[in-house]
Symmetry: C2
Subunit: 169 residues, 2 copies
Amino acid sequence: MLKLAKLTDYATVVMTAIAAEPAQLHSAQELADRSHLPAATVSKLLKMLAKARLIEATRGAQGGYRLMRSPESITVADVVDAVEGPIAVTSCSIHAGDCSIESSCGTRANWRLINEAIRQALAAVTLAQIAAPMRRAGTMPAENPITFHPRKAKRNSDAPIPATRPAAD
Amino acid sequence: MLKLAKLTDYATVVMTAIAAEPAQLHSAQELADRSHLPAATVSKLLKMLAKARLIEATRGAQGGYRLMRSPESITVADVVDAVEGPIAVTSCSIHAGDCSIESSCGTRANWRLINEAIRQALAAVTLAQIAAPMRRAGTMPAENPITFHPRKAKRNSDAPIPATRPAAD
DNA sequence: CCATACAGGACCAAATTGGTACGATTTGGA
DNA sequence: TCCAAATCGTACCAATTTGGTCCTGTATGG
């Protein structure tokens, strides 16, 4: 558990496929073929990703999708946000007022911290790293830990991490 | 999204209630009252927590539950594991063979890393910290970041973080 | 021996999620 | 000009998951 939605996993796969050739347009059909996922589902994902402005769509014949930012600047956290909405491990970790005993509960701030730490782990991985041909855990620098400072979170994007592929076809 | 189950949130609340007085026994009914949650649900949770050996049960009249380890040594990650099972952001991040294109997919190892980072964030928070009366983010040392080393993960338990309370009653 | 309390399932209802379908709109090219 | 290729948006259905309840059994203290 504490799993992310299957669609999110799919989304990273699709995004990676686009990132492989950032310059050119990719139709939903093409991406579905390449990632071995149902076309309808891929199409739905692309719409979500476009709405989040991670990719941009060109309509009409010969149209398709293209990244709006460089693969280096798009992270897994971006994809998760686009598909699942803002990360929130607990209902109160973002929205206030969802909890009846809020006033007597000092825990809100701390869930927020856990939330931040998780977000950072996801934000430390870029599409470029995912797309890089089979970089492995052991291959990485291993010298840039994801550091989590309770007060002011410090971001450090240097962990090499890719996405899963769903059981497809 | 990327949310954990409501039951997990409940579980942390219940565990905190027990941790407040680790020495004595707490019946399911008492804990339900204290946490403002339905007794049946609390009972179910306690069974799960007991099966995971985070708490131990004493049967019969005057029976109840008690922590099996100190509040300092029980973390949020333990609770999550007990209620939701092992943390796995993607299906392939733990079990191999769930994915058809596994052999051609170099991303598995990297999801594992994200998974580890998240686990560490959860493991950095103990029941004792949650139970501590309203410790706030600003109050903490702020000098012991949760550090994530790709190769060999280094644990650092010094982040102060509590749990939410569900909208109950 | 009975009231209290946990053990362990079976079970159901509701919410969420994955996935599909369809009509509308835009665009390039024959 | 008209058609085909694409996306847009939304509504919808089916399946899984989740939250929650209940019931029967077992242990224990008074």
